[in-house]
């Protein structure tokens, strides 16, 4: 031992670790991204390979309005989270409600488009390759929107009962990570289906 001794700090250095909810949601998003990647690859691989009609260029209409709805719901959920962190519950609830409505409108838009494709153009999942790939990819996304809406509704119900406060801000933040992911996936699906795929 040398004469020089380094004093050992009495107070333990701060030991902070990342939030487990956020880590888990990030992992889930990575896993989900891989699932979507496979469906997107399948869609792109089968573009123009349908042996029979209808083809995408004949029947698809770009859902610009509903896309704006879904993308703006990302902004409202983000602001809602900020308000919750600052303890402004009324503003939080209002924006949360708006998020839910915007998401529901998007889902309604998807339903409307499917109705039109099925009844006007006779395109179902078994009609041709385009139908298989289209309904699977858009349907997988719509399924994620539905799950997101269910979770938004649960938070909304608890919020209306006055049970969502500042202390839940972290958990609400985890949910909004998921919702942002659903929106980002739509950007990819939109580009693939309505721009590249035509």
């Amino acid at each position: 031992m040398s004469a020089l001794t380094i004093p050992i700090p009495e107070i333990a250095p701060p030991w902070t670790l990342p939030d487990r909810g956020k880590v888990a949601m990030a992992c889930l998003i990575i896993a989900e991204s891989a699932i979507f990647t496979i469906f997107v690859v399948a869609y792109l691989f089968y573009v123009g390979k349908s042996l029979t009609g209808p083809q995408p260029s004949d029947v698809l209409e770009t859902p610009i309005f509903y896309t704006i709805c879904l993308l703006s719901s990302s902004i409202t959920i983000h602001l809602a989270g900020k308000f919750l962190e600052r303890g402004k519950q009324t503003a939080f609830l209002g924006l949360w409600c708006l998020t839910f409505v915007l998401g529901a409108m998007f889902l309604f838009g998807t339903g409307q488009e499917w109705h039109r494709l099925i009844y006007e153009h006779g395109l179902t999942i078994s009609t041709n390759l385009f139908g298989t790939a289209y309904y699977s990819l858009v349907g997988l996304h719509a399924f994620h929107v539905t799950v997101g809406l269910l979770m938004l509704a649960i938070v909304l119900i608890f919020g209306l009962a006055g049970r969502v406060g500042v202390e839940q801000a972290g958990r609400v933040g985890v949910l909004s990570m998921y919702w942002h992911f659903v929106d980002v996936v739509w950007v990819v699906v939109f580009s693939v289906v309505y721009i590249l795929g035509r």
Binding site: I8, P9, A12, W15, L17, P18, D19, R20, V23, A24, C27, L28, I30, A31, E32, A34, I35, T37, I38, F39, A42, F45, Y46, K49, S50, L51, I125, S126, N128, L129, T132, A133, S136, L140
Partner: protein, 558 residues
Amino acid sequence: MSTQVIAIETAQQNVGKPWTETVHEWVTTVDHKRLGVLYIVYALFYLVVAGIEALIIRIQLMHAHNNFVSPEVFNRMFTMHGSTMIFFVGIPVLFGFANYLIPLMIGARDMAFPRLNAFSFWLTALGGFLLYFSFLGGNGLYGAGNAPDVSWWAYAPLTAKAFSPGHSSDYWTIAILVAGFGTIGASINIIATVLSMRCPGMRLGRMPLLVWLNVVMSGMVLIVVTPLSAAQLMLLVDRYLGGHFFDTQAGGSATLWMHFFWIFGHPEVYVLVLPAFAFISEIVPVFSRKPIFGYPVMVAATIFIAFVSMSVWAHHMFTIGMNSYANSFFTITSMCVGIPTGIKIFNWLGTMWGGRIQFKTPMLFCIGFLFQFLIAGLTGIMLASSPFDWQLSYSYFVVAHFHYVIVGGILFALFGAFYYWYPKITGRMLSESLGKLHFWLFFIGFHLTFDVMHIPGILGMPRRIYTYEPQRGWDTLNLIVTIGAFIQAIAILVFVWDLVVSYFKGAKAGNDPWDAWTLEWSVSSPPPAYNFASVPTVASRRPLWDLKHPEDPDSRYE
């Protein structure tokens, strides 16, 4: 800062409790240790089941024109053997050890999400149940056959409704899908636990290598198991909703299924082998009485393997006719895997070099692993070369190669892990003499089976044939392979006997029978439900060394 670890003896609480209560406790448990044990016991059960299927395959191939089972049953047997061994033995047993050990090794009281943990296990369990329920429920149509018979790759169009009527393929698809979700849940849990639950001082660079390797493995699972889930969803769309993903008559592509399957299938090998590396990296240092050689390089090599393994999948598809650029690319990337694995083998040798090696049973299995994994890697390099692969793909050479990896590598490491951690899990030692008998029997049986199996492959024997013509020079070789398989089966019986008898009559283990250095050995055996009475603080990679040698702690040098 002190490294204080308190061990508390658990009272025997199981005395006088009705058995229904014990069952209820195990079914509803969210304790990572109990779930770990459930995973391991579940996997051991399927190991025996799939082992019996392997024996049926081997009896059928014992000599030419054998009629032990019909061709249909033979197809079911190799499908069930492969699917079970990968999805319901390999993955659960490795997740079982990860579940049991990771919280103990990083000084946590449980996983990050105990209920998700239980949910993941029961999903996996349901998957195995569904797969085997197909024997009863698969008969959708008269004469359709029960258990799945499409092999574990389930290449299109074998799985199309026209070629696989009834529900056998559906049971296979749903079983794998459900078990895949369980695997993904367990991986998310492991990553969240490692990133968010470490005890004070347990920086990433101080985690035991087992934890490192398992967290990298879990990261891989997120990216590689999900493509399989996606492909299974597509297959379900095809079979139930009349989709055309893999329907070549409607413009679909059978090759796309191959790509999706192998994007999962090849990295899956690394998902299985990384935890095996993890066991070796814990056991070899303890029985060499030296710290692991080149810790940072080991971590880097692991991450390198994870990256490279994502870009090698099409080496399973050289024979379908890709262009020369694809062939070259996948040949080069596949050979690149040899670099980080070579680094690892040298590091384990470096750990043993100059150490005072104790040839206890866990160490014997590890040394067996080192040699066998090296040979498996060398035949892997041979098959990675696309012209060579054109000759030997779909032959018994390939079967011998990947069994060398999975049995000679992963299973040997796993047996080492059983002998090493059994005292911690049960509080009793496994018998050293039965362990040595198990090792030598299994070692001889393994080499008899899988060394010899390379030769019929080179002589042109294709895989998945239910019988063959005499006078091809395959008869004697196949007989030797079958004899080796039975020697391995006897070794497994010795092992199971040892597991059962030692549970009741084994020598008491105490907290730390191997004089080891990681945190799990600081608590009693078996550990109490809460793991650590007070959350430990660590200052180096070998906290127990620091505790045992306060005059010369590792923390001074790291």
